[in-house]
Symmetry: none
Subunit: 225 residues, 2 copies
Amino acid sequence: MDNFIAHILVVDDDDGIRSLVKKYLNENNFLISTANSAEDAAEKIKIVKFDLIILDIMMPGKNGLEFIQENKKKIDTPIILLTAKGEANERVVGLEIGADDYLPKPFEPKELILRIQNIISKTKKNDLKRVIEFKNIKIDLNKNLIIKNDLEYKINNTEKIILEKMINNPGKTFTREDIGLQIDSDKERSIDVIITRLRKKIEIDPKNPKFLQTIRGSGYVLWIE
Amino acid sequence: MDNFIAHILVVDDDDGIRSLVKKYLNENNFLISTANSAEDAAEKIKIVKFDLIILDIMMPGKNGLEFIQENKKKIDTPIILLTAKGEANERVVGLEIGADDYLPKPFEPKELILRIQNIISKTKKNDLKRVIEFKNIKIDLNKNLIIKNDLEYKINNTEKIILEKMINNPGKTFTREDIGLQIDSDKERSIDVIITRLRKKIEIDPKNPKFLQTIRGSGYVLWIE
DNA sequence: AATATAACTTACCTATTATGAAAGAACTTT
DNA sequence: AAAGTTCTTTCATAATAGGTAAGTTATATT
């Protein structure tokens, strides 16, 4: 009974809906937490890492869209929006600013489950790599180590956060802003410097980076293969 | 402007909606065919391979759900369902039997586009060529590299944009204006220069271009084979 | 063949962007 | 409090993009 599929945060100001959804999802093996406002939710996601957030758009105080705008980049938890029926405009905005899916009210509980499973399966299938190896380099995020030519280099927390993101999105270009959000810094110069340091550890020839490359005008990419 | 993103079949018994959707999607670079019934659609998919089907559920004769059940397994074209508002039940059934997404009426055209792009990108991602090889040349748009005779040449963003277009439309002549639009330049001479630079990287004998050829008075073509 | 038009090439210039080193500030650990 | 880390700042230098100009070459037109 304690073997849950996923931990979901349900954000809705309506007590009825919250408890209804909670009850139904509980019966279907999801672990549910709830929040009754965007502010409440913002607090909770600081503490717990959820697998999914179900978010009502219309709420007193901050609404769902505002919540997404403020938090989506920092967290990468998928979000399903609950929209009032017919509110096509809100759905558009929601998807544009980063919701992963939406569900127009009223919805069948069964549909909610389908949508949830769809999203969870997407995000769970690439479970995160912690140890990778390529060429003569081994990166071990569990031990905070990079091993290059049998030499061990320690990586600190910042470096680890960046590497973790990049390793799990090889080939994806990260802007300095992207990286900054992860490590909670808005100093672009600092990010340059951190990249330089990383290169010293990860690259065979740090002056001619093969793996951690610059995309001029855009940011940085990690190539592994 | 014969360069469509995707070929879409719109199935709806309502003339108004059909032509409206067709018009809007046309303006957004989709090639649209229409069918006014499930039966009609069934005929058309026998002949043409569409990239996507937009399907109204409620139609006289066979309805959308029946259409899916009878055809989904044979074809692997993704389907977006148009559902009447509030018909949660139909949505559930639709998703269960194989629709890929649904759109509750009324919808914003913009939302339709978003949904379409979402699905197309999933299915087409692997179709858009990012790495191609011919003769002794390999173009890797992911890594921004051209490899010729085992020598690596970096390509910058401008070159990449041009190459990407050309690679995905080999044999098509691009005017300088076409190219200029892509790279946001209206300087024809500049484009000459960029082509020259590209040839140095891509051609075995840049003075006698085999791949990136001039169509005098018109523009340039890329031949790959 | 003479002329006009179009395309190519080279070299140069400027603005932008990235890098590297070094030193100080902020934070942790001992 | 001292020592060690890590982040930030600054600044000088380097690399790159992409446009311009001008002479050269190729192609078409008469």
